[in-house]
Structures are given as structure tokens and as C-alpha cells.
């Protein structure tokens, strides 16, 4: 094995000052250091913080079955929904969770097509976040239908009534978009995992002879079988890599239009209706930008603690990576801010009194608190990232990321509730508040999400080992550190 310290045997002439860039993996770490550091998370003793965090998350996730059983056995009346607000927290949570997923696909697919090499340090964890977020999202429409035992009517299967789903409804498009999104995300994530699972298989095999304690031997054997089975017999063959890289590129090419279509279709749920505030053509691009914005907020919320909790991670997810993510957050946050302004302008310029009323009501009506909370979190807070100190100070970035998460939840709340609560006639006006069941179901999904994410961190390589290796100078056969002789 190569030495694990910073290698210094090869001297490279420094580039001109104006071209100098911070490396993607700090301190000139060798490729063996990369696999050791990432694999040690799985091999080392489970840290105490992990047990504490997992216990709290798992206990919190118990709210989910509790509330769902209560909902099904009692009826949707246990939620705060009533006339005139028939879409409440459930739909807000659905859109919020699915939006969070979008950053994972942006990082894994769009940044791959744009050849942004820094994505390799965060894509694995971000894709895992996508999958778990979409799982949380999928729960809400399923339990929101009222008669949950008829959920299977959503799928194009022959029923005893010989009726088929109605394919002209955006709600059905959503079924296809979300289930495709989940499936393709899982395929993409799994394919990326294959070489890294092979790394884990080989690492457990290498130490198998040295393990003496019976319990440890059993663990080692189980790990070899698990990682061996799921790595599908990967040998790192270049003939395989060739097909693998092509398939990866194709999946990235398929996921890019997919991720843009998913949130567009989610926005159709609103935009195709006739309601003031919902019936606008700006919704698809505005929803997609908002989704990426909120997703990057969540990626930052998760990655900043992880990189300081695990040894060596801050050399793979460097402050430069945080800076890049902050810049994406700033960009998408600015698009979202522009969309808010444009919505207002069109409401005024379009000359439709109902539309204008809906927007005035958002900003100055009964729910003005949610509107201004949204504006301060989504429009004001990301602009702190114009300042370099704000982008490169992890604790500060983390606080802003929390604001982004809150702000994007408020945005969906504003869209869903304010358009509904004051209908065309004052007889149809009302004020919606959630019940404890609404709140606890949401908290339950948070616990569910965190439990899955913590399990992922414990048992799967949380950074793409082979991809990070590929972006270091040691991996480049045309670089002196990769052995090239000029």
C-alpha cells in the first residue's frame, strides 16, 4: 500500500499565480488514502454520536405510523383541512420533500454533464438524500386521497370495475413522474455504488485472515457476502469501465430532463387549475429553480456536520466545495426571488382583478406572516453569500441553509394556502390551521428521513470512492503524480 501521508516525492512546477486553484482533495492525498478514509467510516467502531442521533431519529419516525393509523382509522377530519382549504400541510410537505430531492439529481446528473469535477465529493450523499426525500414525499399524496384503501386505482392496472385511470389529469402525471423519478434515482445511485461496493468487498476480504474473535469473524463474513453480492462481481476491468462510463453518461443524460420534468409536473398540479395565484405559466421554471435551491439547502445542512464528524472528510469536502454549493444556492435563490417579483408584476400587469387580489392578499392578508417569512428566508438570506466570509465559514453556511429549508417550506405553504383560503366570494373565506396530526406526521417524516440517512452513512460508502480517486492528479496518467515521465 502506498504511504498515507502527503506525498512529496514528485516535484511539480507551480502554475502561474492567476491560474492557481485549490485542489479538489486537499493536501495532495494519495488514492489509497481516499479509499482508507471513506471506508474507515464503515469499518471503524460505530461512533457514539451515531447511536444517539439514530435513536432520536428512529423514535421520532414512530410518529409516522402512529399518525397514519390514526388518520386512516378516523378519517381526514383529523387534519386541519376543511372548506375552503382542502389542500394543507400534506401537499406542502409533499412539494417540499420532492423539491429537496432535486439537488441530488442536479449534482449527480446536470453537474456531471457540465463536467463539474467537484461534484464527486458530494454526489453519493446527495443522491441518497434524493431517494430518502422522495420516499418521504410519496407518503403524503398516498395518505391524502381520503380513502387510502383505493390508492391502487392510481395505477394503470385492470380493476374489477374495468375502469382505467384518467390520463388527462396532472395528478396522474404526478404519479408517473414521481414513481419514475424514484426508480431512476435508485438505479443511478446503485450503479454508482457498484465499484465502491467492490472496494468494500475486497477490503473485508483482505483482513478476513487477521480476524480472530468469533463475533468479528461473523461480521466480516456477513460484510463480504453483502458487499460481494451487491457488487455483482466487479473486477475493475477496463472493458467494463468503458460500458459503465457510457451507461453513467446516458443515465445522467436521462436524469437531466427527468429532474426538470418532475417539478414541472408537480407545478402543473397547481398551474393547470383555474385558481388565481396558481394558474400561471411561470410555475414550471420557478418550481424547478426553487426545488434546486431548497435541495442545496438540505445538502449543506447534511454535509457540514458530516464533514466535521468523520475524520478526514473535510479534506474531501473542502471549504471550496462549500463555496461552490453556496454559489449555486445564491444563483437559484436569485432566480426564485426574481420569480416572486415577476409573479407580482404580472398580477398587476395582466389586469385580472382576482389575480391581483390573490397577490395583495398573500403579502398583506391574513397570512402575511408566512409571506414575509418566506421573503426574508429565500430572497434576503442567500444574498449573504455574495460575501466570501459567509461562503467559507461552515457554521455560518449551516445557519443560512436552515433558513433556506424553512423559507422553501413557507413558499409552498404560501402558494397552497393563500390561494385557497380566500376564494372568489367572501362567503368562501376562511382561516386554515393545522392540527397536531398534521404537525406530527411532518415531524415523523423528518425522523424517517434522518434514520435512513444515518443508516446509509453507517453501511454504505458515503462518498463516491472511485469517482473521487479519478479527479486527483495521482489518477491522471498524463500527470507527473500519476507516473507520467516528461
Amino acid at each position: 500500500m502506498a504511504d498515507h501521508s502527503a506525498s512529496s516525492s514528485v516535484k511539480i512546477a507551480p502554475p502561474p499565480v492567476e491560474l492557481e486553484r485549490e485542489p479538489l482533495v486537499a493536501n495532495q492525498r494519495s488514492i489509497s488514502w481516499i479509499s482508507d478514509t471513506i471506508a474507515n467510516v464503515i469499518e471503524d467502531k460505530t461512533p457514539r454520536w451515531w447511536w444517539v442521533a439514530t435513536c432520536i431519529s428512529a423514535l421520532t419516525s414512530l410518529w409516522l405510523p402512529l399518525c397514519i393509523v390514526h388518520l386512516i382509522s378516523t378519517g381526514v377530519g383529523v387534519w386541519g383541512l376543511n372548506h375552503p382549504v382542502a389542500w394543507g400541510w400534506a401537499i406542502v410537505n409533499f412539494v417540499w420533500w420532492i423539491g429537496i430531492g432535486h439537488a441530488g439529481t442536479l449534482i449527480s446528473a446536470i453537474l456531471f454533464l457540465l463536467r463539474q469535477k467537484w461534484r464527486t465529493s458530494i454526489n453519493r450523499a446527495a443522491e441518497a438524500m434524493t431517494i430518502f426525500a422522495v420516499m418521504c414525499a410519496g407518503i403524503f399524496p398516498a395518505i391524502h386521497v381520503g380513502r387510502i384503501w383505493f390508492d391502487w386505482w392510481l395505477f394503470p392496472i385492470p380493476t374489477s370495475n374495468s375502469l382505467w385511470p384518467q390520463f388527462r389529469s396532472p395528478l396522474l402525471w404526478d404519479v408517473f413522474a414521481v414513481s419514475t423519478y424514484f426508480t431512476v434515482s435508485v438505479l443511478f445511485w446503485y450503479m454508482g455504488l457498484i465499484p465502491d461496493l467492490a472496494t468494500m468487498r475486497d477490503r473485508f476480504r483482505k483482513v478476513a485472515g487477521k480476524v480472530v474473535e468469533p463475533a468479528a469473524r461473523l461480521r466480516n463474513k456477513a460484510a463480504q457476502v453483502f458487499y460481494g453480492l451487491f457488487s455483482l462481481g466487479w473486477t475493475g476491468s477496463n472493458r467494463h469501465w468503458r460500458n459503465y462510463e457510457k451507461a453513467y453518461l446516458l443515465l445522467a443524460g436521462l436524469s437531466t430532463p427527468l429532474v426538470l420534468s418532475v417539478h414541472s409536473i408537480v407545478s402543473f398540479d397547481f398551474a393547470v387549475s383555474q385558481l388565481p395565484g396558481w394558474h400561471t405559466t411561470i410555475f414550471p421554471p420557478y418550481f424547478v429553480a426553487g426545488a434546486v435551491f431548497s435541495g442545496f439547502g438540505m445538502v449543506l445542512t447534511l454535509m457540514i456536520p458530516l464533514r466535521s464528524l468523520y475524520r478526514g472528510m473535510d479534506e474531501i469536502v473542502t471549504t471550496r466545495h462549500l463555496e461552490f454549493m453556496c454559489k449555486v444556492t445564491l444563483t437559484t435563490g436569485s432566480i426564485v426571488g426574481y420569480a416572486y417579483g415577476m409573479e407580482f408584476f404580472i398580477a398587476y400587469y395582466g389586469g385580472n382583478p382576482y389575480e391581483l387580489y390573490a397577490f395583495k392578499n398573500r403579502a398583506f392578508g391574513d397570512y402575511n406572516w408566512s409571506y414575509w417569512l418566506m421573503i426574508s428566508c429565500n430572497v434576503v438570506s442567500p444574498h449573504l453569500f455574495w460575501i466570501k466570509w459567509c461562503r467559507t465559514t461552515p457554521w455560518f453556511v449551516w445557519i443560512v441553509s436552515i433558513f433556506v429549508n424553512i423559507g422553501m417550506w413557507m413558499e409552498r405553504f404560501v402558494i397552497v394556502v393563500t390561494s385557497l383560503h380566500n376564494d372568489f366570494m367572501p362567503g368562501n373565506w376562511g382561516y386554515y390551521s393545522p392540527t397536531w396530526v398534521d404537525v406530527c406526521t411532518y415531524i415523523g417524516t423528518m425522523g424517517f428521513f434522518m434514520t435512513l440517512f444515518l443508516l446509509f452513512c453507517r453501511f454504505l460508502p458515503l462518498i463516491a470512492i472511485s469517482e473521487v480517486k479519478g479527479v486527483t492528479p495521482f489518477a491522471d496518467p498524463h500527470h507527473p503524480l500519476g507516473g507520467a515521465k516528461h
Binding site: W164, R201, G233, N238, R242, P477, G483
Partner: protein, 182 residues
């Protein structure tokens, strides 16, 4: 004939390299020597290795394309059959089947089947999953997913000759050459 090794069938010769550049140059030499059943095993996809091995473009795209087409037209056909042919559903005076209203679902089906085609095509072309491989029994080869590079020439290559091939691999500068059995 007293050792089990005498009954072993050779799988091929395995040469180890410490850097991607050495493996790349070794691959060029093996390619130029005219071998066909050989491979380079690396911890990550080495840039330029396909050219060094003389490999053509991958065929995975065909699987994606054909599966994607099936997804699109299958989706359209499904909607036409369900909402127009088998059980017409008149909604708001609109036509029972319209390609525009059907587009979002057919589009998602294109991507869904295209993605399965890409992954399935990759696995099919690579003949994976394969749960047994002679190289995976070799403990030294376990470094392939860590930081080592291996050039392996298979024994059933028509040009394979244990001594000649060994000499060729020696010339490429490998520090460790080993015969791997089936």
C-alpha cells in the same frame, strides 16, 4: 503429480503496476503485440485507457435508445388503449385521446425504460452479475479496488505463450507478475 497445483488450469498472467501511467503504457505494448483476450483492471476509469487498449465505442447507447423508444410509444399506446379504445372516458368534451395530454406520461415512460435499458445494457454487455471470477480468488488482486493497476492476459488468447507473454509483461516494467489459475 503430488500437489493440487499440478491439476490447476491456468487462467492467465497478471502483471501489477503502481501508477496509471505505467499501466497505460503497458496496455499500449500489449495492444501492439496483437493480443485479443486481455484486460486492464483499475480502481477507477483511467482516462485514455480505451485508446491504449484499442477499444471501440461502447454499445450501451443502443439499449438505451431502443428501450426509450419502447417507453414512449408503449406509453402512448397504453393511454390510447385505456382512455380511448377499451373504455372511452369523455372529460369536459375533450377528445378521448390526444398526444398532447398524453405526452407527460409517455415522456416519463421514455426515461424510465431508457434508464432500465442503460443499466441492463451495461450489465448485459459486461456479462454481469458474475459471482465467481478467477481473479477475485487472488488475494493480491484485491488491491485492484484500492490503489493498484493490473494487466491480465488470458491463457486462451491465441497468442498466449507462458514464457513469451511473461517476457512481454516483464518488458513493460511490471514489478510483480503472477500466474493466476482458474
Amino acid at each position: 503429480m503430488d500437489s493440487l497445483d499440478d491439476y490447476q488450469i491456468p487462467y492467465g498472467l497478471m502483471a501489477e503496476f503502481g501508477t496509471p501511467a505505467d499501466a497505460l503504457h503497458a496496455a499500449e505494448k500489449v495492444r501492439d503485440a496483437g493480443y485479443t483476450r486481455w484486460d486492464v483492471h483499475t480502481p477507477y476509469a483511467v482516462h485514455g485507457m480505451d485508446e491504449a487498449m484499442g477499444l471501440e465505442n461502447s454499445q450501451v447507447g443502443w439499449f438505451t435508445f431502443i428501450c426509450g423508444l419502447c417507453g414512449f410509444f408503449g406509453g402512448m399506446l397504453m393511454i390510447w388503449y385505456m382512455n380511448s379504445y377499451d373504455y372511452g372516458l369523455p372529460v369536459g368534451g375533450k377528445p378521448n385521446f390526444s398526444p398532447f395530454a398524453s405526452f407527460p406520461v409517455a415522456y416519463e415512460m421514455t426515461i424510465l425504460l431508457g434508464a432500465f435499458g442503460s443499466l441492463g445494457g451495461m450489465l448485459f454487455l459486461n456479462r454481469l452479475p458474475r459471482l465467481h471470477h478467477p481473479l477475485l480468488k487472488n488475494i493480491r488482486f484485491a488491491e485492484v479496488t484500492h490503489d493498484r493497476f493490473y494487466v491480465v492476459i488470458e491463457a486462451d488468447d491465441p497468442k498466449y505463450d507462458e514464457e513469451e507473454t511473461h517476457k512481454l509483461l516483464k518488458k513493460t516494467g511490471s514489478k510483480h507478475i503472477e500466474l493466476v489459475n482458474e
